[in-house]
Amino acid sequence: MAEARLVPRTPLEDMARPGRYGLADGPAGVLVQERADRVLASVIARHGQGGAVAEAVRSAFSLDLPPGPRRIAARGVAFTGVGPDQWLVAAEGDARRDFVARLGAALAGRAAVADQSDGRVVLEVSGPRVLDALAKGIPVDLHPAVFTAGAAANTLVAYIGVQITRIGDALVYELMASRSLAGSLWSWLATSAAEHGLELRQPRRG
């Protein structure tokens, strides 16, 4: 039995230190914060059980799953549609506790649940120039009236598969990619935001 506990690493922390990048003058145009504080799980409805999953989610989490690529959230739990009868679910704050097990229990027999909490790098991106920076890689129309609060898309950024979600009424976006690609995603984002000045905040840890 070893003495020391395992110290977790966030996907980005070996790639970039918090601080200011690119243009150094004035307020940063783009703000980035790594969100390593979320429990993530993929949910795939079992054959023909899409409706039953929606039913179970309603009763367990009081959420009405919208059709299509949208995110809906309440009380720290967010479901994002990522494919027909498939969702990526995130839990934060108090909702994290035993979340994957609770989710599995709520959907038992109706969906396959797999823990993905460690499989993704999650960057929350905001700031006055966020759309200008994201336009340099996201081939999706992010106009606030088009990509509305809760909109989500699975797309390709700098040859990296990325799920982008607008997580609220404010222009705050969540970029999610495979953990092993955190460095390449960061390289693209830091380069793209350099002319506006980028501030990387301390990561939020679970």
């Binding site: 395992l6 054959h47 797999a114 460690d118 499989g119 340099k136 793209s192």
Partner: protein
């Protein structure tokens, strides 16, 4: 050197800022210009006529145009690593400190030795390379090609890497307006006022198009004022984006357009964090093409001399830049527009010596307050020259020759609509006889064409058509456009009777950039090149950086005349993207150097880097190849040490790169039975099994393991290389072949950090990490056990007893956030057992020692039987590839099969790729028996060992053959052996 003054700058007028003087050099000579100038306009104002030498004949050339169509005034801009060849001086925005150099001349622009090529003109005709240098063939590469390349050509690229950054960006809009002349501005205003999201893209740094160059009025005030008001209104609309310095270069599918924004080309060096250029992909629901028209030169002897300029360009230099291209002008025209140049020149104080109009009659309205002599029905047949134009030789309507002194000849051949972007999806332009122009044919979906680009060459019509197009585009998208009054303006006279060429002595140029003359076109016709496409390839008409923007229509017309057909029958070559040159850097954007493609890093990367690991790219991954210790300089020494230490004690390797798939559902067992050759539905919970997947054609696709974690829950691993392909394959099988099966699968490749622990002491090591309640004894956790466990006081993990090395070995998985900590914990716990990290090389050595197949053997040509894995093909069930694998051809006795190889002389090295030959046989394909797929130096055997595929496979074990490698080792006698070179009984693995 003192700067040459701006002797030919008007004292007032123009869109330049006389308060902001900018210094620049051309061929080392300092000059001055003003903010608002192009390099070309500043050279004009400074009296510079000669700016380059032509491609083939090295003829002196001057500035022809005032825009992006320029074929002559190509310069090298900047120096050193930023040197940029073939920059159009007419498009280069002047900045302080600009350095430009003329190109294609030696030793100097004024005296060019290769101008002697002009004397060789009789042999440098169309297709000369194909004719002149045919014999002897051997001289082509050594002599002719280098010689031609030195003589002909454009600028020199920089030798150093480009220090600037480029990027790509995406934009979306309702209406994309291409061009900001009268039609484009009117369209953008109409669509923008209606509430549509509008992007207005303009190639120039200033918006306004021809309005910047003309003395016209709109709504009763100078056009420039109307432009400024329109831009101010557009700039105030939040959903309108103005993009100057942006060339839309291509029309692509589904309403997407490619555009190049020259972000910092107008600055000496891009400011920090600013890109040089940005390439845009614009997705537009509707587009209004308002790209205007380009003026055609007239084709007559001497038409390429410095001092011969397009008439519209003369107006641009006078009106927009207040720069005087000459003091004494002759206009040669075949249309009403040429007369405008005479009027504007007179207004600017130039002397107009004569207007020569090829038409016998010209409307009185056009000739009003006529300027100089008007010679109707006349022709220019020659140009008198010294260092510039001295005068022109003309023939009048009665055939009388005369000479008129002048220093500037403005030529007006009519205007060609810029239809290029209408053609990129296959639409062919249509010849319009009345307007003597190709007009847009079938349009790309969602595109409208307005203004001069549609053949409406006059101002009032441009404004009206633009406004209508912008409004209609917005209305189609559901916006309501207010019925606004179109701006008031007059339609200027625009009658034309085209004059395609003037016969006479001396070269009459059709394509200035490629030095194609009238006689080249006629020669091509005489030699049978009647198709316009053949004409282009044979004469090079319309090729190179300007793509014939000023040349094409004249060339086609001459082809039509020479071949006795009409222009409509001859047709035109097709325009393809890009409309104008786009730097490769702008297309690559961010993806240079280490960002060429994304790199995947395994969880132990930072730790491995701290230890000084040498990394290797394996597919998208960067993996540790070996871990040199201080003092080790030879990779083989490091790798052999890692192998020995692993086999003696314990080794650890990051195998997180394996593809990992989580499968859940009632039918997972049945599903796996169908995709693997082996049986998985009978696998016990808590056990793993090696699996082989075949393609439908019976060839092996991938191998890996699947473990059963619960009755309806499996965990599959794939090879690193095929992770994506296998996932795709499984999704296809599930979604298309067997959708009714209750199987849910998802990639969990990045969720888990996975380490392979190999060596006789790994159980001891693991016992220090794994929580006490999990018994790792051999009978409690036997070979191929697979279980969920906890480590280090309750951290969730999975442990698999699987071996690729042939040792007692485990793979341990932990959520990836703990990967870094786990490898450090393994190293700490393993110190007493001699734990040694090993990289991909040692991994490879141990698998070759154990005779395991890997990517080199799973090469897309081998069957399971070929690889000695026939026993893994279940006969109790069906699976993908089973039927095809039974084909007789796959069972022929002399098919290449999998074996081991060792050199007969143990001191000799083996090389992968060597082909096997029978001893004494000649090295020809007829005797080829197969080849060496993998080799390694085996520290355990103390010699090189190999794996290979050889005819008759294992039946040859014990035979000797030659490993033939003419490139590296020559012929090496090898003995065919069993593929397992080390521990053939496998006792170590089960211990």
């Amino acid at each position: 050197m003192a700067a040459i003054g701006q002797a030919l700058r008007l004292s007032s007028g123009g869109q330049i800022d006389r308060g902001r003087a900018l210094g620049f050099t051309f061929d080392g000579q300092p000059y001055q210009g003003f903010s608002g100038d192009t390099l070309a306009s500043a050279l004009v104002a400074s009296g510079v006529r000669l700016v380059g030498r032509s491609f083939k004949y090295h003829r002196p050339r001057g500035i022809l145009s005032a825009g992006g169509e320029e074929p002559n005034a190509l310069v090298e801009l900047r120096t050193g690593a930023r040197r940029e060849p073939n920059t159009r001086a007419t498009l280069a925005e002047l900045y302080d400190g600009l350095e430009a150099t003329s190109q294609n001349r030696w030793p100097s622009l004024g005296f060019d030795v290769l101008a002697l090529n002009g004397l060789l003109a009789p042999v440098l005709v169309a297709g000369f390379y194909y004719k002149t240098f045919m014999w002897p063939a051997g001289l082509w590469e050594r002599l002719y090609e280098p010689m031609i390349r030195r003589a002909a050509g454009l600028g020199r690229a920089a030798a150093a890497a480009d220090p600037d950054h480029y990027e790509k960006a995406f934009a979306f809009c309702d209406v994309l307006v291409i061009g900001s002349g009268p039609a484009g501005l009117a369209a953008a205003l109409a669509a923008g006022r209606a509430g549509a999201r509008v992007i207005l893209a303009e190639e120039d740094f200033a918006c306004g198009g021809r309005l910047l160059a003309e003395r016209q009025e709109i709504d009763g005030r100078p056009a420039a004022q109307w432009v400024a008001a329109a831009l101010a209104e557009l700039g105030a609309l939040p959903h309108v984006r103005l993009m100057p310095r942006t060339t839309v270069f291509g029309t692509f599918d589904h309403g997407t357009y490619g555009a190049l924004e020259r972000v910092a080309d107008h600055l000496p060096v891009p400011p920090p964090h600013t890109v040089r250029q940005r390439s845009w992909r614009i997705t537009a629901k509707r587009a209004v093409l308002a790209a205007g028209a380009l003026e055609r030169p007239l084709v007559f002897p001497g038409n390429d001399r410095p001092g011969v300029m397009l008439a519209g360009a003369v107006r641009s230099y006078l009106n927009r830049f207040a720069a005087v291209p000459g003091g004494d002008m002759v206009v040669f025209t075949c249309n009403d527009d040429g007369w405008r140049t005479a009027h504007d020149a007179t207004a600017a104080g130039l002397r107009v010596a004569a207007v020569i109009d090829a038409r016998p009659q010209v409307a009185a309205r056009v000739r009003q307050d006529s300027v100089g002599r008007a010679i109707l029905g006349g022709r220019v047949v020659g140009v008198q020259r010294g260092r510039g134009v001295h005068g022109v030789t003309i023939v009048d309507a009665d055939g009388r020759r005369a000479t008129i002194a002048c220093d500037l000849l403005a030529m007006a051949g009519g205007w060609s609509p810029v239809v290029n972007l209408t053609c990129h999806l296959g639409g062919r332009p249509v010849w319009d006889e009345a307007r003597a122009a190709f007009l847009p044919g079938p349009l790309p979906p969602g595109m409208r064409v307005a203004g001069a680009a549609a053949g409406d060459l006059t101002l009032a019509r441009c404004l009206a058509a633009g406004a209508a197009a912008g409004a209609a585009a917005a209305e189609e998208l559901g916006f309501k456009s207010a019925a606004a009054r179109a701006p008031r303006a007059d339609d200027e006279p625009a009658a034309i009777t085209p004059l395609w060429f003037v016969a006479g002595a001396g070269k009459a140029f059709v394509d200035f950039q490629n030095d194609v003359t009238v006689s080249d076109v006629r020669l091509a016709v005489r030699e049978g090149f009647r198709s316009v496409e053949h004409l282009k390839r044979y004469t090079t008409l319309g090729m190179a950086t300007d793509q014939g923007k000023t040349a094409n229509v004249n060339g086609l017309a001459i082809l039509a005349e020479a071949s006795g057909r009409g222009i409509a029958a001859v047709g035109t070559t097709m325009f393809r993207p890009p409309y104008s040159p786009v730097a490769i850097g702008a297309i690559a954007g961010h993806h240079r150097g280490k960002d060429f493609r994304p790199t995947r890093l395994p969880p132990s990367h930072a730790w491995a880097a701290e230890r000084g690991a040498v990394f290797v790219e394996t597919g998208p991954w960067l993996r540790a190849q070996w871990y040199p210790l201080p003092g080790e300089t030879d990779w083989l020494a490091s790798v052999s040490r890692e192998v020995r230490a692993t086999r003696a004690g314990a080794g650890v390797c990051d195998v997180s790169t394996l593809g990992k798939i989580d499968l859940q559902g009632r039918d997972c067992g049945a599903f796996l039975d169908r995709v693997y050759t082996g049986m998985f539905s009978t696998l016990a919970v808590g056990k793993a099994r090696y699996g082989l997947m075949l393609r439908e054609d019976g060839i092996v696709m991938d191998d890996g393991t699947a473990s059963r974690l619960a009755p309806d829950h499996y965990f599959m691993t794939t090879t690193t290389a095929n992770a994506g392909k296998v996932m795709q394959h499984l999704e296809f099988c599930h979604q298309v072949l067997w959708p009714a099966l209750d199987v849910q699968m998802v990639s969990v490749s990045d969720q888990w950090a996975q380490f392979s622990l190999a060596g006789p002491r790994t159980r001891d090591l693991l016992q220090k990490l794994v929580d006490r309640q999990h018994d790792l004894a051999n009978d409690a956790f036997p070979f191929m056990a697979a279980r969920e466990i906890t480590v280090l006081g309750g951290e969730f993990a999975r442990l698999f007893r699987i071996s690729f090395s042939g040792e007692l070995a485990y793979e341990i998985s932990i959520p990836a956030r703990h990967g870094d900590a786990l490898i450090r914990a393994i190293m700490a716990a393993g110190a007493e057992f001699g734990i040694t990290p090993y990289g991909t090389e040692a991994l490879g050595v141990m698998r070759v020692e154990k005779g395991h197949v890997a990517g080199n053997e799973l090469n897309g040509q081998t069957t399971a039987r070929d690889l000695g894995l026939g026993r893994m093909m279940s006969t109790r069930k069906d699976y993908i590839g089973r039927v095809a694998a039974a084909r007789p051809a796959f069972h022929e006795a002399d098919r290449w099969g999998f074996v081991g190889l060792r050199p007969v002389n143990p001191a000799q090295r083996l090389y992968a790729g060597a082909h096997f030959l029978p001893q004494g046989a000649p090295a020809t394909e007829a005797y080829d028996l197969g080849y060496m797929t993998s080799v390694a130096y085996s520290p355990m055997r103390g010699q090189w060992i190999g794996l290979g595929l050889i005819a008759r496979g294992p039946a040859r074990i014990g035979e000797r053959v030659i490993a033939h490698d003419p490139v590296r080792s020559g012929d090496i006698p090898v003995e065919v052996c069993h593929p397992v070179h080390f521990d053939p009984d496998g006792g170590r693995m089960h211990g």
